[in-house]
């Protein structure tokens, strides 16, 4: 009974901490500007099925992609076993689903094989990060925390799988002990009587020699210990994940659902600008006319983005979905040629800043208190922004459809339209377009010169 109460308490604690953190992230994401992504639900479900569930963009790099799918399948499917663990924990049963007979044997057998796959992939991933030291895992923005975050999760997953397999190994040994006692007609303790034959142990049988020498009491102790380690570990994992880049295991789904469905080359037209330009171009418009009544008390929104909360909620969701895998950066032409720009860093900076803004709001009773900082300059420098060629390679590469380019453009819009700050030659280009209708200083009247040249050919 005590064990059951302890379990329920631990379980409630884990789930509540998780829920609180989700609430905080949701609030932070909603600090962003409005954006309507409720259209085309059919296409959205399809994108999600393909990109998040089917991981279609992961397999562009086959080795990492296939192992990632293995971990992902293992993670999802082994969670069916967690359901049993929870029910057992609350009710005090042992392996409540074992009544399913051969189906149960098949399930446990498959979980074990998957668990082995997970361990295998995690070991390879650790080697890739720490021994082979693949370049994209060691860029400037991969400071201490992002690096340990990745390693922590891999190690924890290995430990969890090891606990799961050890639990099964001891269980198997105990099942043998129980059958032997019954065959001998010996007396069976209540504790041992729980371990009726159930499940199959294709992987954990190889762990059995490790625990073979233990007494029945010893085995029961290790089996219980591993059971608790496994479930407490999973709950701890649940609490940890939303503080980590591993939050993508949840956010990948909504984030791909709300993907941009337009052509990648299409940038948004800023509505506020359209209104002003229309006014300027319409000779009948009265510049001194009173503003529309609904616009009266809303403060005019900033053009472009200076800080993280000037971005849209989708751009903020992108930042929380980022797995820091660096596929974007490794495809970025600016980054590959040694420039400061790294699209991964753009995403990490955006997330760090919106987290900071969120904390600021919490500490100041729900009001943001100016901290003199902004996403631009304090996190992302002008040099980074101006190195972007808007080539969309990062957007194409991202396995969860994150769009770093849209953030870069919104920050540039702020620089140009609010601060009139641009490299000199860019300013000259603007002037040329304004004066001659071309980015160079050629007179508009020369535009058709080539046709005359053809006349004379």
């Amino acid at each position: 009974m005590l064990e059951q109460i302890a379990f329920v308490l631990v379980f409630i604690a884990g789930v509540s901490l998780f829920a609180l953190r989700i609430k905080a992230i949701r609030r932070n994401i909603l600090l962003g500007r409005d954006l309507d992504r409720s259209d085309q639900p059919g296409a959205r479900w399809k994108t999600m099925a393909l990109v998040a569930l089917g991981q279609s963009k992961m397999v562009v790099r086959p080795v990492a992609g296939l192992m990632h799918i293995l971990i992902y399948l293992g993670f999802v499917i082994i969670n069916i076993e967690v359901l049993e663990i929870i029910i057992d924990g609350v009710t005090g049963h042992h392996r409540i689903f074992s009544g399913l007979g051969s189906i149960y044997d098949f399930l446990i057998g498959s979980f074990e094989i998957l668990a082995f796959g997970v361990v295998f992939s995690c070991v390879i991933f650790l080697l890739r990060r720490n021994v082979i030291r693949i370049k994209r895992f060691h860029a400037a923005e991969m400071t201490k925390w992002p690096t340990s975050d990745a390693n922590i999760i891999l190690v924890v997953e290995i430990l969890l799988m090891f606990a799961f397999l050890s639990m099964n190994a001891c269980d198997g040994l105990l099942q043998q002990a129980l059958s032997a006692s019954i065959a001998e007609g010996a007396e069976v303790s209540t504790q041992l009587s729980h371990y009726v034959s159930a499940g199959s142990f294709p992987v954990s049988q190889f762990l059995m020699p490790l625990y073979d020498g233990l007494s029945v009491e010893g085995l029961i102790f290790v089996e219980r210990f591993m059971w608790w380690f496994h479930i407490v570990g999973i709950l701890a994992f649940l609490v940890y994940v939303p503080y980590s880049k591993h939050f993508h295991i949840f956010l990948a789904f909504p984030n791909t659902y709300y993907s941009n469905l337009e052509a990648k080359g299409a940038f948004t037209n800023m509505e506020a600008v359209t209104k002003e330009v229309q006014l300027m171009m319409d000779p009948s418009a009265d510049p001194f006319a009173a503003p529309a009544p609904d616009a009266a008390d809303a403060p005019p929104a900033r053009f472009g983005a200076k800080d993280a909360n000037d971005l849209t909620w989708k751009q903020l969701m992108d930042s929380y979905s980022c797995t820091e895998c660096g596929r974007c950066t490794s495809q970025c032409p600016a980054n590959q040629t040694g420039k400061l720009l790294s699209p991964r860093k753009i995403m990490m900076d955006t997330r760090d800043r919106i987290e900071e803004i969120g904390k600021n709001i919490d500490q100041n009773k729900g009001e943001f208190k100016d901290d003199g900082k902004s996403l631009i300059r304090d996190f992302i420098s002008e040099e980074e922004l101006w190195a972007c060629t808007s080539c969309n390679a990062c957007v194409e590469a991202c396995p969860v459809n994150i769009d770093p380019l849209s953030i870069i453009v919104d920050l540039r819009r702020y620089l140009i339209m609010e601060e009139s700050k641009s490299p000199e030659s860019i300013t000259a280009m603007f002037n040329n377009i304004e004066n001659n209708g071309a980015p160079w200083a050629f007179p508009a009247s020369d535009r058709g010169n080539w046709t005359q040249e053809m006349n004379e050919a």
């Binding site: 002003e276 330009v277 171009m281 590959q336 040629t337 040694g338 190195a387 390679a393 140009i416 980015p439």
Partner: protein, 265 residues
């Protein structure tokens, strides 16, 4: 020897009471840059040769606003866009072929919301269609026989609008060997000019993007690096010069290659 061609402006056509099948949107680079003007002329020759009734805007054309928009100057872009849309709608234009992927992208994707609704195609798509419809025939000459050609995907044609096949289908018409770079199609590497980079010095780094890209193209030992964008063309031409390979490797737009294969130049 190439023939004299008269390219009519929209104003001329309207004065004669005629309507073109398609408007040829030349773009700033194609109008003013000496190298890019050759591409423009090749496109004009192809259209004429295929019997396409087309016109240009001439002095009435103005920058689409692409470099301003990508640099963050939404005001300037929308001013340009609305001015162009006024002219285009004034002539009741329905179909546009552009000589530049940036013009193509912006008119196709960003003008509609501002009131400019046209069917816009890139010149490689248009040429592909002309060939498919049997309107454009290449002479049997073996201008490109045995040559190796590699195609550099322009970002705003490829990733930007998912047009990967049309330019390749056109190149397939040349009796040449089409070879692909390691980073091609969706994974294609930028030439380094997009996003208004064309108009400024690159940020500090350890290499120029066009050098990285040209290096990759030259690894294939091509005779021709084919392009579909006047900016890519400039960047790759500079890259080839940097490696002092201009004697053995040509950088040419697909339109120029086709015009050559059709004996139009």
């Amino acid at each position: 020897m190439s023939q004299a061609i008269h390219v009519p402006t929209m104003a001329e056509m309207v004065a004669k009471g005629e309507t073109p099948e398609v408007l040829f949107w030349v773009g700033c680079s194609g109008s003013f840059d000496d190298r890019a003007k050759k591409i423009t002329k090749a496109i004009a020759r192809i259209l004429t040769h295929a019997g396409v009734k087309f016109a240009v805007l001439g002095a009435e054309e103005s920058c689409t606003g692409d470099p301003a928009k990508r640099a963050g100057n939404e005001f300037l872009y929308q001013m340009q866009a609305m001015q162009n849309i006024m002219v285009l709608n004034g002539y009741d234009i329905k179909h546009i072929v552009t000589g530049c992927p940036h013009c193509f992208n912006i008119m196709k994707n960003e003008y509609p919301e501002l009131g400019g609704n046209y069917e816009v195609v890139h010149h490689t798509q248009f040429i592909n269609q002309l060939i498919k419809d049997g309107r454009l025939k290449l002479s049997d000459g073996d201008t490109f026989k045995g040559k190796r050609i590699t195609f550099h995907d322009p970002c705003y044609l490829g990733r930007g609008n998912d047009v990967y096949e049309a330019p390749r289908a056109v190149l397939q018409q040349l009796d040449a060997e089409l070879v692909e770079m390691r980073r091609c199609k969706k994974q294609g590497l930028c030439c380094g000019a997009g996003g208004a980079q064309m108009f400024k010095e690159a940020e500090p780094g350890n290499k120029e993007v066009n050098i990285e890209r040209t290096e990759e193209a030259l690894e294939l030992k091509p005779n021709v690096i084919a392009t579909g964008c006047p900016f890519c063309n400039t960047m790759m031409t500079d890259g080839v010069k940097n490696f002092e390979k201009e004697g053995s490797v040509d950088v040419k737009d697909i339109a120029e290659l086709i015009a050559e294969a059709a004996d139009l130049l």
